[in-house]
C-alpha cells in the first residue's frame, strides 16, 4: 500500500503529509529547547552572580561556527532549488557542501569542548557551564542527527530521484526545514551563551 499524500497536497490541510509532520515535530522541538531557555532564565535570574560568557568561552570560534551554520543553511536551500531546476549535479554539490559545513561546525565544537575540559571546566563546575553544555550538547546532537539524514539523501536515498522525483524534492524540502531550524536555534544560543 502506498503512503498517501507524499506528493499531492491533502485537501483539508493544503499540504503534503511530510511537511505538516515536520512542522509539528519542529513545534515540539520549540518546546524542548524552550524548556532549556526557560531553565537558563531561571538559573540566571536566581543567581547571585553570573559570568559573562565571553570571559569563559571562545567568541571568535563561536562566531566562525555561526558563519558555518548560516552558510550551510544557504547551501541546503540551494540544493532544493537545484532539484527544482532539474540539476542533480548541483544538488549533490550543494548538499555535499552542507554536509562539509556541518562537519566543520562539529570540528570547531570539538576544539571548544576539549579546551574547556583541558582547563577542568565541566558541566558540574557551575550552573553557567551546566546550562552551556546541556544546550550546546543538545544542539550538537541535532546537528549530528541532521548530518545522518543529509548523508542518506546524498548517497543511498538519491536513487528516488529516478523513480519519483517530486517525492524526492519534497523530502529535501523537509530535511531543509529541520536544518534551518537547527540553524535558527544556534542564532539564539550564540548571543545568549557567548555574548551576554
Amino acid at each position: 500500500m502506498d503512503i498517501p499524500f507524499t506528493v499531492k497536497n491533502r485537501p483539508d490541510t493544503g499540504l503534503y503529509n511530510g511537511k505538516l509532520g515536520v512542522w509539528l515535530f519542529l513545534a515540539s522541538e520549540v518546546m524542548l529547547f524552550g524548556g532549556l531557555f526557560s531553565a537558563y532564565i531561571f538559573l540566571r535570574t536566581g543567581a547571585e552572580s553570573w559570568p559573562i560568557g565571553a570571559d569563559i568561552l571562545n567568541v571568535p570560534l563561536a562566531t566562525l561556527n555561526t558563519l558555518f551554520l548560516i552558510s550551510s543553511s544557504v547551501t541546503m536551500v540551494m540544493s532544493w532549488a537545484s532539484l527544482k531546476l532539474n540539476d542533480l549535479k548541483k544538488f549533490k554539490l550543494y548538499l555535499g557542501l552542507t554536509f562539509l559545513l556541518a562537519t566543520a561546525f562539529l570540528v570547531v565544537k570539538y576544539f571548544e569542548y576539549s579546551a574547556k575540559f583541558h582547563h577542568h571546566l565541566y558541566p558540574s563546575t557551575n550552573n553557567f557551564l551546566g546550562i552551556y553544555f546541556t544546550m550546546t550538547g543538545l544542539h550538537m546532537l541535532h546537528v549530528i542527527g541532521g548530518m545522518i539524514v543529509i548523508f542518506y539523501f546524498l548517497v543511498p536515498g538519491v536513487k528516488m530521484w529516478d523513480s519519483n522525483p517530486s517525492r524526492f524534492i519534497n523530502r529535501i524540502e523537509i530535511i531543509g526545514l529541520y536544518w534551518h531550524f537547527v540553524d535558527l536555534i544556534w542564532i539564539f544560543l550564540f548571543p545568549v551563551l557567548y555574548l551576554l
Binding site: 518546546m31 535570574t45 562566531t63 548560516i70 544557504v74 532549488a81 531546476l85 542564532i187 555574548l195
Partner: protein, 100 residues
C-alpha cells in the same frame, strides 16, 4: 512551494544569497555590540532584537514561511503562545520570591 516556474526559482535563489549576506552582516553586528559597554539591560535587548531579526529571515525565506499555508501558521501560533508561557514561568517565580 510546489508549482514554481524555473524563473521564479531563479528569483528565489537571488533572495537566498541576499539573506545570507544579511545574516553574515548581522552576525558581525551581534559580536560588535557585545564589545560596547551598554549595560546588561540594553545589551540583552539589543542582542535579542538582532537574533530575532536573523531568526525571522531564516524562517521567512529559507523555511518559506512568508508564503505558507494557514495550517502551518495556526500550528506556529499555538506553539508561540506555549513558548511565551515557558519564557514567563521563571519570571513568575521571581515575583513570588519578592512577595515572600
Amino acid at each position: 512551494m510546489a508549482d514554481l516556474t524555473p524563473e521564479e526559482i531563479k528569483h528565489h535563489v537571488k533572495t537566498y544569497v541576499l539573506v545570507f549576506v544579511a545574516l553574515a552582516f548581522l552576525t558581525i553586528v551581534t559580536v560588535g555590540i557585545s564589545y560596547l559597554d551598554l549595560g546588561l539591560g540594553a545589551s540583552v535587548a539589543l542582542a535579542l532584537i538582532v537574533a530575532s531579526v536573523k531568526g525571522s529571515l531564516v524562517a521567512c525565506y529559507f523555511m518559506h514561511l512568508i508564503d505558507e499555508k494557514t495550517t502551518i501558521y495556526w500550528t506556529l501560533l499555538v506553539t508561540a503562545a506555549a513558548f511565551l508561557v515557558l519564557m514567563f514561568l521563571p519570571l513568575g517565580t521571581m515575583a513570588v520570591q519578592v512577595q515572600v
